[in-house]
Each structure stands twice: as structure tokens, then as C-alpha cells.
Amino acid sequence: MDNGTQLSTDRETPLIKVSHLGITFGGLRAVNDFNLEIGENELVGLIGPNGAGKTTVFNLLTGVYVPTEGDYFFLGQRMNGKKTHQVVQSGIARTFQNIRLFKQMTVLENVKVAMNPYYSYNLFSALFRTGKYWESEAENEAKARELLEIFNLQDKADYIAENLPYGQQRKLEIARALATGMKLLLLDEPAAGMNPTETAELLECIRIIRQRFNISILLIEHDMSLVMKICEHIIVIDYGTTIARGTPEEISSDPKVIAAYLGEED
């Protein structure tokens, strides 16, 4: 059975190992027998036509849905049935197709929310503002600003998030995901709605964060040229089923993929 082994022949323990994952919604099989392995610092692309079940895969991996079949392991730990915040704390973070920022909060606060576990003070310290409160606040604020700098958002730290231009909102969402301290980043169509300049900037960003934080990325993207450019491996799904997997070259010449995208020729 081809269950993603070709993606990871040269590794002992992958970061994430998904086997035979599936979910059924009232008789409808949205995702079926999904297999995936991602190693350290790897960038994998997940593509497929509209409604193929890509975002459902993300929802399964982040605990929004509980899989009805199969299971998945992250850093050797079984993740089925974990709640979203537990998944995040284990080290998987995501962005959303339709950007979901904390709109009324400032850019800096958006990042601080994701850093919540790193704040070491308890409720008492917070209410009575003990030394620990100020220490922890200052320390984490510095970290948050550092992170914003990577995305060139340091000057916008005190802006209300919804007032940022579109491209920067996307970046902030990625920055926020990074702030959780994750190991695996799930990006849901990060380039959607971006102009070529913004897309180029985004690519540069992804390159930098991969280097700097040594993270792995699973990317959903519609822009095929982008996927071909940056992904080391690509998985193609259609109607919830994996129809192809391999390197960008293999994928681009796969007849099944072409058929799925362009429709069958009779």
C-alpha cells in the first residue's frame, strides 16, 4: 500500500505520522484513508480541487473534528480526540483560509495571546501586579516584538489588527501561530488574495521562518506555481481520497492530477 513511505524513507521518527485518517459526516466520507508523514524542517504541499477535503484534513489534524477512522501521532504521541488548544500546545499550529485575527486587539496583543503559556504568573500576581507580573510581561513583550520584527511588523505593533492591510494580516496570522512555539505549521492558502509582490514577500517569510525556527510546514495552496516552487513533497487529494503523492516534478506529470484539475477527457 502506498501510505506515504516514499516521503520518509530516510528518516527514523517523523514529526507527524498520519495513518488511514478519515472522517464521515452523516454518511458523507469527507476524507478517506489519508496518510502523511512529515519530517523535521520539511515543507509538504497539500493540493486538490475545490471541495476536495483539504481544509477538512487541517480540521482533523488540529482537533476541530474528531476523526472517525485511523489515527495520527505527533512526536510519538497519539493525538486523536485532543482538543484544539491541546493540539496547539503539543506543537501544531495553523492559519485559516479566511484570516481569523483578533480584530479588535492590537497587533502586539494578537501575538501575546498565543504566548499565553509562556507567561509564568498566576491569577493572584495578575490581580495585584506583583513583581512576577511585570517581569513576565516585560520579558514576553520583548519576545513578541522580536517576532514581529521578523515579519517586518514592528512598526505596526500598536495598530488594531483589522486596520492592517490584507497582506500584513496574513503575516500577522503566521506570526501568531509561530508565537505558540509550535513545531509544525499548517498554512491554509496563505497566498490567497495576495498580489504578486505580497506573494513574493510571503515566500521569503516562509523561507526565513523555516530556517530560523527549524519548523516543518504543511501547506494548502491553490497557486500551483507557488506550490511547485517551494514544496519538497506534494500530496494531491480529490473527493477526500489521496490520488497522488511525490516530488513536484512527479506531480506535474501525473495524469491523475491533470485529470482532477482539468476534468477527465473522454
Partner: protein
């Protein structure tokens, strides 16, 4: 303390301002300068401030529409009344003066804890629902609390009056007379300031940020590692705790207790304060609580017209200014002073943010 320098300066200034305010209230209260009418308004304003700011925590900051806040106030009021009655009967701290104060403080703490506990008990099931459904379920819980307290033989309709039909509070050692109420003005003001301060520090901590993030986008909040259920219940219970404190003050302020005073309409009344002031603005809640309480009392003889006008204003507000008077604005002493001095340190910052 490792407080940043400019914050240190600002908080010192705030402390001085609050101290002056409290000092003035203490002096005026102990000298019994005010008529019982004014003292009454003062107490009710303090209750209103605590109720509105704490309700704002749930409705404005946590973004969960709760309509049963008065239920927790009711728990606080009856806890205080019954506990005080028990203490008076057992002759523990039953006297006047300092003993009364200590007894009152014990009642307040007990009320806060019990209301908070009920906040957790109600919050865990209720907060699984959202929006309209949450509004209904909290309304339902508020009514249940009211009906149950009313039905309990030793608490409700004829429980507190030691055999008499009316639940008279002065026999419980609460339900202060006018002179005592005037003396207690300082204490009540201090308590109110403490409550508001604690709510503010809560909001401006990691806990508050988690709560506001849930309001802005619950799904994104969970995806940022926030345990949304935990923080929702925490915010809700925290808010209920303050309603308990307000209930305790209520029991000291009135000479009798009646569950009818703290039903759905009371919840709506505090809710109106939050909406008027602006959901998400503590300053707004304080201003609205004082303003509406004063207005309520001033227009007491036109009671029906008053509610008529309120409802019309509320509708107009929803049409033309749904964010309330203050939106999410918060008053800052240093910024305001800075503006007066023309240095505009605060103003500049604000403009930058708005730009």
C-alpha cells in the same frame, strides 16, 4: 517591584487621585453632610458600578451575552443576610461598630465565594452554548435561582423576618440605618474602587487577553492554544463573584430583601448600563452606572415615563450608536493631564494608533 518607570509614575498619580477622592468621601460620610437621599443614591451607584463593570466583563470583554447577572447578586444578598442573621443569633461579632464592620466583611467574602462557586456551576453547562442560546440559558438560570431562593422556607418570602411575614433585614444585623450608611460611605467607596481595580488588572493580564481573544474569534483563540472553555468559565465565574459582592452591599443598603427586586428586570437594568456605557469600556460602565442610578432616583416619581424614555433611548442608541457612549474607550488620568499640559504625550500615541 519591576514596574516600568513611566507606569510607576502613572500609577502613583492614579493612586493619589483615588486617595483624594476616597479621603473626601470619608470626610463627608463621617461628618454626615449628606441627606439620607443622597447617601442612598451613593450606595446604589456603588452597587451599580460593581454590577455593570462585572457584567461588562462577561458581555463586553468575553463577548458572551449573559442575561442572569442579578441571580448572582441575589445569591450574594441572601448569603450575607442569612450569615449575618446566624452570627447575630449566635452572638458572634453581634455588636455595633468594629464588630459590625468585621461581620460585614465576612459576609462580603462569603457572598463573593458562594456567588463565584455558583458562577462556575452555571458557567460550565451554560457556556457550551453561544449567542442567543446563551442569553436564554443564563436568563433561565437567573430565574431558577430566584424561584428557588423564594421557595426555600428559611430564606424566601418569610424566612428572614424571624417569624414575621416581611423579610426585614435590620434584625439580621444588616440593613443599615441612615447614619450607619453615611459612616460606611468610605468603606463602600473603597470596596467599589477595589472591585473596579481588580477587574481592570484582570483584563490587562494574560487572563484578560485570553478572554478578549475569545470574544474576537473563539476558533482562532483555540487555535492559538487558549483553552476557551476554561477561560470562559473563569471569566463568567469571576464576574459572578463581583455580583455576589454587590448583593452583599445591597443587603446592607436596604431594610428588607425581596427576590422580586433581583429578577429578570434587574438583570436587564444592569445590562442597560453596560450597553449605554459601551460594551468593552469599564469607564463607560462606571459613568452609566452613576448616571442611570442618579437619574432613576431623580425621576422616581415619574417611574413609568422614565422606563418609557429609557426604552426609546435604547432603541435609538442601537440604531445610531450601537457601540454605546464610550465604545471601548478607557479614561486615563495621565493621558488627560498630558493633554492639558499640551505636551500631548498620550495624545500623540493615540493619534498614532488611530492613523
Amino acid at each position: 517591584m519591576k514596574m516600568p518607570q513611566e507606569i510607576k509614575k502613572a500609577s502613583t498619580m492614579n493612586l493619589i487621585a483615588v486617595a483624594i477622592l476616597l479621603g473626601a468621601i470619608a470626610w463627608l460620610g463621617f461628618a454626615q453632610v449628606f441627606s439620607s437621599y443622597i447617601v442612598g443614591i451613593f450606595w446604589l451607584s456603588c452597587i451599580g458600578i460593581i454590577m455593570a463593570t462585572s457584567l461588562n466583563l462577561t458581555n463586553g470583554f468575553l463577548g458572551q451575552m449573559a442575561l442572569g447577572h442579578a441571580g448572582f447578586m441575589l445569591i450574594g444578598a441572601y448569603t450575607s443576610a442569612l450569615l449575618s442573621l446566624a452570627m447575630v443569633r449566635a452572638d458572634v461579632l453581634a455588636g455595633e461598630g468594629v464588630q459590625q464592620l468585621i461581620r460585614f466583611v465576612i459576609c462580603i467574602v462569603a457572598s463573593a465565594l458562594l456567588a463565584g462557586l455558583f458562577g462556575i456551576l452555571v458557567g460550565i453547562p451554560a457556556l457550551r452554548l453561544r449567542g442567543d442560546y446563551l442569553a436564554i440559558i443564563t436568563l433561565g438560570f437567573g430565574e431558577i435561582i430566584r424561584v428557588v431562593i423564594q421557595g426555600i422556607p428559611w430564606a424566601g418570602a418569610d424566612g428572614l423576618g424571624q417569624g414575621s411575614a416581611s423579610p426585614v433585614l435590620y434584625k439580621t444585623g444588616l440593613g443599615f440605618n441612615n447614619a450607619t450608611k453615611s459612616h460606611y460611605m468610605f468603606f463602600i467607596a473603597l470596596l467599589t474602587v477595589l472591585c473596579v481595580a481588580v477587574i481592570l488588572t484582570f483584563i490587562r493580564s494574560r487572563f484578560g487577553r485570553a478572554i478578549i481573544s475569545i470574544r474576537d474569534d473563539e476558533i482562532a483563540s483555540a487555535a492559538s492554544g487558549i483553552d476557551t472553555t476554561f477561560y470562559k468559565v473563569m471569566g463568567f465565574a469571576f464576574s459572578a463573584m463581583f455580583a455576589g459582592i454587590a448583593g452583599s452591599i445591597f443587603a446592607a443598603c436596604y431594610s428588607s430583601l425581596n427576590t422580586g427586586n433581583m429578577g429578570f428586570m434587574a438583570s436587564v437594568n444592569y445590562f442597560v448600563m453596560v450597553v449605554f456605557g459601551g460594551m468593552g469600556s469599564i469607564t463607560g460602565s462606571i459613568v452609566a452606572a452613576i448616571g442611570l442610578t442618579t437619574l432613576n432616583e431623580a425621576l422616581r416619581s415619574f417611574d413609568e415615563y422614565r422606563m418609557l424614555v429609557y426604552s426609546v433611548v435604547l432603541v435609538l442608541m442601537m440604531i445610531f450608536r450601537p457601540t454605546g457612549l464610550m465604545g471601548t474607550y478607557e479614561f486615563s488620568l495621565t493621558k488627560t493631564l498630558g493633554r492639558f499640559r499640551g505636551k500631548g504625550a498620550g495624545k500623540k500615541q493615540e493619534e498614532e494608533v488611530q492613523a
